[in-house]
């Protein structure tokens, strides 16, 4: 009885990690992507961040503005890495790779979650870059091992969440051209309707309401709490984790149901 229950779970985790492993192997063969990805967060922190910190127009309480946006920029670059995962999936569909995976006995949800985790590891490389930039720019970081671990978990989950969201869109639109359009249309509102680069307190009421429905807001809140020394969560970490985790699970289930549509 117990083995019949445990085996599928064990097998599911194993297959998920197999997919992740091979995504990472691809990255090892060609890691120029990781380097080019470092550019965008650097621009946001060094230019955008410096200018607004200097102008003093953003009121971020007792936290300096540059400190305030460091976690926001991390969340943003995780979002950007993850949201274009759909392109990758469509590419694999235009080749026959998706079809071949779908004709294998591996559980669909494992194929989807494995991709999500690999987005997560790319997200971790972004975290490394942001930490480096933060050090250079004098952001006061919280270096406790527990806080660092929580940052890693949050980044992994956030990347899984948004890459799975992206995969679902890919399953609907199916072509690269349409995906590029939809991807742009979704990414910017997700980013701007969040607390990534300004506090929700300065938003008009309607936008604040939307931002509270945006999972990115909770990702940023969790990251800000864990990353910065002396920062307090706006929503409570329990709520942050609950929103992120439940959304991720929901999206993976939906993604697993939609993924076979790519083969047709």
């Amino acid at each position: 009885m117990i083995t019949t229950l445990i085996y599928p779970i064990f097998s599911f985790i194993e297959k998920t990690l197999v997919i992740t492993e091979f995504e990472l192997r691809k990255l090892r063969h060609d890691f120029t992507e990781l380097i080019t990805r470092a550019l965008q967060p650097a621009l946001w922190m060094v230019i955008f961040g410096q200018v607004f910190a200097h102008s003093g127009v953003m009121h971020t309480g007792n936290i300096p503005y540059l400190d305030f946006i460091a976690p926001g920029i991390l969340a943003q670059s995780v979002l950007f890495v993850a949201i274009f995962y759909g392109i990758n999936v469509i590419w694999e569909r235009d080749l026959g790779i998706v079809q071949k995976f779908l004709a294998s006995p591996a559980p669909r949800a494992a194929l989807v979650l494995g991709k999500g985790f690999s987005a997560g590891t790319r997200g971790l490389s972004q975290a490394l870059i942001i930490y480096g930039l933060s050090l250079l720019l004098g952001v006061k970081l919280n270096w406790s091992p527990l806080a660092l671990l929580n940052v890693m978990v949050t980044v992994m989950l956030a990347a899984t969440l948004f890459s799975t969201f992206s995969l679902i869109i890919a399953c609907i639109v199916k072509t690269r051209e349409r995906f590029m359009g939809v991807g742009q249309v979704l990414t910017m509102p997700l980013f701007f309707a969040s607390n990534a680069i300004y506090p929700t307190a300065i938003m008009p009421a309607w936008l604040r309401t939307i931002s509270h429905l945006n999972p990115l807001t909770y990702v940023v809140d969790a990251l800000r709490t864990f990353m910065l020394a002396g920062s307090v969560s706006s929503f409570g970490l329990g709520r942050d984790y609950a929103v992120i985790l439940l959304t991720t699970i929901f999206l993976v289930i939906v993604g697993a149901r939609m993924y076979p549509r790519l083969a047709t």
Partner: protein, 267 residues
């Protein structure tokens, strides 16, 4: 007397009002080579997609290695290998890694994985190339790697959708030599689609010809030629007779683009 490993009963697939496959019924014996012919858009790929559980049929039923494609999809997937028409190995991984990922996904025992991969590379004439990135392979090598990948778990039925499209004659011969070895060594049943009639003549035990979703002929190459009667009909004559001469029947823009893209990547 061999058992049938593939039983298709009135298999039908509609897309809206268009019937891509219309009540297809046939069976294939274990260890045989079966060729499915037809012009572009005749329903060959749709048939293969249904048999590999990628596309649910609108009606009808099929059993692959004793498992129903409707209710026992995981059983079907364990029993089959599938080489899609498009290139299905990952160019940014090495040949070895492409095989390793499938060895793991198909639950090959850990002790056996390395041995099987080595054997598969050797079997497909790729022993020296396992460590190279697939992006550097030639078209024929890519196809052989795909076949190696799809047969690591020793499937009972191997589905191949136009396995030799876009390959030069030498590469085509090499692919077929390896496929026939596979059949001889492991008793694998081959079910494939193709446009190349001479392949069908040389390698197929039986042939079916499809036209606009319907099966219009079924038999050995000899039987089909004889069915035309007088003269000395070639398989070309048979094809024209059963698959129709309508030049405009063939395939959507999407089908044609993806086929050409495949040919380009392999060539």
């Amino acid at each position: 007397m061999s058992d049938s490993v593939l039983d298709i009963k009135a298999l039908t697939r509609r897309f809206g009002t268009f019937t891509a496959v219309d009540a297809l019924t046939l069976s294939v014996d274990a260890g045989k080579v079966f060729g499915l012919l037809g012009s572009n858009g005749a329903g060959k790929t749709t048939t293969i997609k249904m048999l590999t559980t990628l596309l649910p049929p609108t009606s009808g039923e099929a059993f692959v290695a004793g498992c129903s494609i409707l209710t026992q999809t995981v059983g079907v997937r364990r029993a089959i290998g599938y080489v899609p028409q498009a290139v299905s190995v990952d160019g940014s991984l090495t040949g070895y890694e492409n095989l390793l990922i499938f060895a793991k996904l198909y639950d090959l025992p850990h002790r056996e994985q390395q041995k099987r991969i080595r054997e598969a590379l050797e079997f497909m004439g790729l022993s020296g190339d396992g460590g190279r990135l697939v992006g550097e392979y030639s078209g024929g090598m890519v196809r052989r790697l795909e076949i190696a990948q799809s047969t690591l778990h020793r499937p009972r039925v191997l589905f191949l959708d136009e396995p030799t499209v876009g390959l030069d004659p030498i590469a085509r011969d090499a692919v077929w030599k390896h496929l026939m070895n596979l059949k001889a060594s492991y008793g694998t049943t081959l079910f494939f689609t193709t446009h190349y009639l001479e392949e069908v003549d040389s390698y197929c035990d039986r042939i079916a010809i499809m036209h606009l979703g319907k099966m219009t002929a079924l038999g050995t190459s000899r039987e089909l030629k004889d069915s035309l009667g007088v003269g000395a009909p070639t398989l070309n004559d048979v094809f024209i007779h059963y698959a129709g001469t309508n030049l405009d029947s063939g395939g959507s823009f999407h089908d044609v683009t993806s086929e050409r893209a495949t040919a380009q990547r392999l060539g």
